[in-house]
């Protein structure tokens, strides 16, 4: 008979025995050793039918195909731009993928994107050696002008966006800011100073309390309490 040692949303630490017996299956972040299912990282236990998985609570962003991310330009070379992806690996934005405009031979590429600029882009390929290629051809992919960039833990991004973007649209409505969330944990916020500040504070609140239930209600309460009268830009 199998025995499950954890409840939903329990915090598990590496090496902890989550379940004993062959009736349960090891999911993401866990592994089986003999009869036992053991945690392979620090995470939040989730019981999904007979599968036990762990949702990570911390960790660096690792580039994944089709992720939309926000990057800083760190280098300009002959054939394109090198971008910092807020991960151990930098990304390459080639001239072909950068813009639909015509780029003349020998043109000064810093006219398009200079070092220090931020862009939103989409990952089109990641090799086994983690060479990352990105594109800026697509809806909403552009150079980010003005506003501010903040950095959050990349595994909190799904909570910041919310189901079908419910959380982020709530913040956008309350602060009258345009907000762009990159999967790599960089968030671009543009609006009035008060609105930007409120958006930053509410995102920080989500980041701190993302593992506790009833988050949407608390954020709603927080936004109402700190409501700023801002003009839409």
């Amino acid at each position: 008979m199998s025995k499950i040692n954890v409840k939903d949303n329990d915090i598990a630490v590496p090496g902890e025995v989550l379940a004993v017996g062959m009736d349960s299956f090891p999911g993401i972040g866990t592994y089986r050793e003999g009869e036992n299912i053991i945690a392979a990282r620090l995470g939040l236990a989730q019981l999904d039918g007979r599968t036990i998985k762990l949702i990570p609570l911390s960790g660096r962003y690792i580039p994944k195909k089709y992720d939309t991310i926000i990057c800083a330009v760190i280098d300009v070379n002959f054939s394109g731009w090198r971008l910092d992806t807020n991960s151990p690996y930098s990304a390459m934005l080639s001239m072909k993928e950068a813009t639909s405009q015509f780029i003349a031979r020998g043109a000064d590429l810093t006219k398009f994107y200079a070092i220090g600029d931020y862009v939103s882009c989409k990952i089109i390929n990641v090799t086994s050696q983690k060479l990352v290629d990105v594109t800026m051809k697509g809806m909403g992919l552009r150079k980010l002008k003005g506003g501010r960039i903040i950095n959050v833990a990349s595994n909190k991004v799904p909570r910041i966006i919310g189901k079908q973007g419910s959380m982020i649209s709530m913040i956008k409505d309350a602060t009258k800011c345009s907000i762009l969330v990159g999967q790599n944990g960089l968030i671009w916020i543009d609006g009035s100073p008060e609105g930007e500040l409120l958006a930053v504070n509410s995102i920080r609140k989500i980041e701190e309390e993302s593992h506790l239930s009833g988050l949407t209600d608390r954020v709603k309460e927080f936004l109402e309490k700190n409501k700023v009268t801002v003009k839409a830009q």
Partner: protein, 237 residues
């Protein structure tokens, strides 16, 4: 003269008082504090991050780099000259070897995970405290690990087998002393560090390792609690 009672009145198989905390350094990806008796260790983990020089890169997995450092006024016997020395280099190496068996860095090719262990105050057992702190910090950094690592020193003072020697015992002069730092994966019963300084018989070594294993399970519980406590934050009103 025989050693009948420990100088600080502990039982022979009792460790010094332990405290642990996780997430003490906000700028690091993972961090932890571990205190055993008067020995204090802070560990900070950065990474996985971009690795230079490039020749160190391993295309099949990430690498682990450890750095053990005693602060200048941390010692119980005098000033430590700042910067690395032969001892700290050795301890950095054994720390790395003690931690590698639990880590899975295959998802991070060509990158490095850096562990910095700083000791602001020491009184014997500093490498063990460092390993305990580092393993908690690695877990806090969200790296894939199959287990934590707990470490403690065991040994012999005169004719008694003891766990967690303090400085007075390490420096005991009226009889033979053996100091054996050990580190273990508590859920797998596998030893990842075993060093020895001194003399001990084979039978006594086996016995004292069993004593150490019991204490290591207790240390693991402390580490586990510290990691869980980090995420038990109260809801802010």
């Amino acid at each position: 003269m025989t050693y009948k009672e420990r100088l600080d009145k502990r039982k022979f198989d009792e460790a010094r008082k332990i405290e642990a905390k996780v997430g003490v350094i906000p700028n690091a990806d993972g961090s932890a504090y571990f205190k055993i008796g008067n020995t204090v260790a802070y560990a900070a983990v950065y990474g996985p991050r971009n690795l230079h020089p490039k020749f160190l890169q391993d295309p099949s997995r990430g690498i682990l780099r450890c750095n053990y450092n005693m602060m200048p006024f941390s010692s119980s016997w005098g000033r430590v000259r700042p910067g690395g020395n032969r001892r700290s280099k050795e301890i950095s190496l054994v720390t790395q070897k003690a931690l590698l068996p639990v880590l899975d860095l295959e998802d991070y090719p060509n990158s490095a995970v850096d562990v910095f262990i700083e000791l602001p105050q020491t009184e014997a057992g500093s490498r063990c405290a460092g390993i305990c702190a580092a393993s908690m910090a690695l877990a806090d950094a969200g790296l894939a690990m199959k287990d934590l690592v707990a470490a403690v020193s065991v040994g012999r003072v005169d004719d008694e087998l003891v766990v967690d020697l303090d400085y007075q015992e390490e420096a005991y002069e009226d009889g033979p002393v053996a100091d054996i730092p050990m580190a273990m994966m508590p859920n797998h019963d596998k030893i990842t560090l075993l060093q020895m300084d001194g003399l001990i018989s084979k039978d006594d070594l086996k016995k004292v390792l069993e004593m150490g294993k019991k204490v290591l399970k207790d240390i693991y519980e402390v580490q586990k609690k510290a990691l869980k406590d980090k995420y038990k934050t109260e809801i802010k009103k």
